[in-house]
Symmetry: C2
Subunit: 190 residues, 2 copies
Amino acid sequence: MELLKQRILKEGTVLSGQIIKVDAFLNHQIDVELLDAMGQEFYQRFKHLKVDRILTIEASGIALAISAARFFKVPVVFAKKAQINISHDQVYTSQVLSYTKKSEVTISISKAYLNAQENILIIDDFLAHGQAVLGLLDIIQQAQAHCVGIGIAIEKGFQVGGKHLREQGHLVESLAIIETIDDQTIQFRD
Amino acid sequence: MELLKQRILKEGTVLSGQIIKVDAFLNHQIDVELLDAMGQEFYQRFKHLKVDRILTIEASGIALAISAARFFKVPVVFAKKAQINISHDQVYTSQVLSYTKKSEVTISISKAYLNAQENILIIDDFLAHGQAVLGLLDIIQQAQAHCVGIGIAIEKGFQVGGKHLREQGHLVESLAIIETIDDQTIQFRD
């Protein structure tokens, strides 16, 4: 998606460890016009599928998931990272390792908001090692639902997450795939 | 806002300690149609003001802030609860006490996304003791910006937050104000 790529080049910054900061428009300050264009683009790419629900993880995934859900006219459910006010037998949980923060978090989704046989679209802001998506897939499997697609804003193509998910047969659509980061120079995959 | 009140009565649940759970449509699963109606209602109530930026706190505030920002055509900035990838001299921070979780968190906003003299609208999902809003007001003051209004989805009118903020001269608009909770019965303020 050209609009997103241009914004990454213009306003993204590269930190050590090949971390890309898009705080200026995506995950601290949010440009709502760009966000809505991204939501519409996700709709274009997945509208041929039957989608019952969109799943994401707090916090940065929420805005994107909402903007896509508006087009699909389905509810969003976001996995929570903090402990939630529900007894343990009423939630699905999974462990997610964050490479950036070098820590593991437990993500939780109430069993009330994920039903067996439903078609789930996962939306998230970043795909690198794929740990967050694997956590959501684990929960979708526990619920005996189906993941019909995975929509990502920015994929780090030089890390293994996207490759592994596609090899497992998942339909992964990323709006911008970064092929390489050399020094401060970002190259996108065509 | 009648639509929201009806949903609270129909799908909200009351936990011990007068905690109201609206996980079914607002802060775990999100009904995007209701969300957009709430965003539009915030616009109706604040559109007479000059708003440069909407400020909220992750995670549940994000969806509401986005839906309001679409009408105002301004960016959203959400305060982060976890440590952020920015050196300490580049962020504003404040301490927020959560009565529900009985713990204190540090909220942070990058100095890059809050400028002196700007007019800020605060949007959040709940107002009870008002700690989260006070944390945002503290940061707005540090930035030498102005808070022109505070938009809340659900205010617990029997707790002190809204009263104190209004006494301090803030314009607080809550879409639903809960006057009392007796047993499982919710009464709204007219």
